[in-house]
């Protein structure tokens, strides 16, 4: 994977390990939610749409991230060139 910079993955990684649900206040306060079947179906469609959007956005971030990382490397190299002392200057004639 490391040697294939043009592989831009837009998949959502591994299979979910727990039930996928929208995070709400009720869920965080451990209150049970009851939903009708039609609501569940609508939510499933919405979840699929959202997941596709997330995968696309994650994929779109690949190239900017690589550019940012390489820019950082270039700037560190530039600072090394500017500020690392090359060789100790020889002191001559007692100066």
């Amino acid at each position: 994977m490391f040697f294939s910079p043009f592989v831009i993955m837009a998949q959502g990684g591994d299979e979910p390990k727990e039930k996928v649900e929208k995070v709400t206040e009720k869920m965080l306060t451990n209150q049970e939610q009851t939903q009708s079947d039609s609501l569940v179906q609508t939510e499933d469609k919405q979840i699929k749409k959202d997941f596709a959007e997330i995968n696309k956005a994650v994929g779109n971030r690949t190239v900017p991230t690589v550019i940012k990382a390489l820019s950082l490397a270039a700037l560190i190299a530039g600072l090394a060139f500017l500020y690392l002392p090359k060789k100790r200057k020889e002191v001559s004639n007692g100066q």
Binding site: M1, F2, S4, P5, V7, I8, M9, A10, Q11, G12, G13, D14, E15, P16, K17, E18, K19, V20, E21, K22, V23, T24, E25, M27, L28, T29, I47, K49, D50, F51, E53, I54, N55, A57, V58, N60, R61, T62, P64, T65, V66, K68, A69, L70, L72, A73, L75, I76, L79, A80, L82, Y83, L84, P85, K87, R88, K89
Partner: protein
Amino acid sequence: MDNNEDTTEKKWSMKDFNYPVPAHAKQFGYAVGGVTFVGFILLIITGIVMTFFFTPTVNKAHDSVLELSSTSWGLWLRSFHRWLAETVIFLIILHLTRIIFTGSYRGSRKSNWFFGIGLMIIAFASLFTGTVVKWDQEGYEAYRHLVEQVDLLPIIGAPISASIQGATVVMRMFVTHTLVLPLLFLLLLIPHLVLMKLNGLSPLPGKKVTKEIKLSIHIRRIFGWSFVIYGFISYLAMQFPTVLYPGPYTGVEMTKPPWILLVTYQFENWFGVRYLSVVPLLMIVGLILLPYIDSKKDDYSITRKIVVWSYIVIMAIFITMIINIAISPPVQHLGG
């Protein structure tokens, strides 16, 4: 009228604040700390404006960010804030690099080095909490990782973990992001600046300070660079607006952290979520020990060379890891 009292009284004028500094203060490497400071001020301003439009509750946080992003100026504001945050972190790393390359943590500057490390930690914490508060998929996944890490802490882990869970989580993260961390930042920034004034600008390695310039020239350079850098960032914010992911959904892990935190993600991939904090902790310990390891004033010592080259190698490894993770698909770490 006591004449003696009159003559000993110091009259301050603007000229007293325009004291001489070494000529290399004009260089970007020596202005980068100041440019970072300007970025911090811009982050505060843009952050304050955004608070007027943000609702810090679990059910409404995401919608309020979405609503702000629905207007072109709101999208620019949010994007500019995010780009600024990343740029400030970027500049902090450059500032740190310059200090390591010039050995400016030695001698009397040691205490200021520690304040600098504290500021850097707060900056990273701000980036993290800022990611969480928007409460999209990325924010929620970041939050879940935080809970996992806090749970690992002995004794204090359980009460802290309890305090950051529940329906008030967004509010608490919001207060941390907008109040606690900026105040801590200012608290450490004041001694950082005072000590910088007392110690003076660090010298260029292997060179003696001969020429001097007025402080106003140094400040003008800082503002000049700031206009160029943040002007460009403003343009980038318009051209490449920051993404607000949908969600959040529990039970899945689909996003990756902000690019600079991808090193931790690599370790998470290798060793699991328990080891997520290993790299940041090792880095902090290493940076704290640095002035004790490399304490000699000699710019050409073997220790100096080892420190500098170790830093370069570590940064090269980190950048390689970031690129590797960027081109790899997201991995599910939580909930296993």
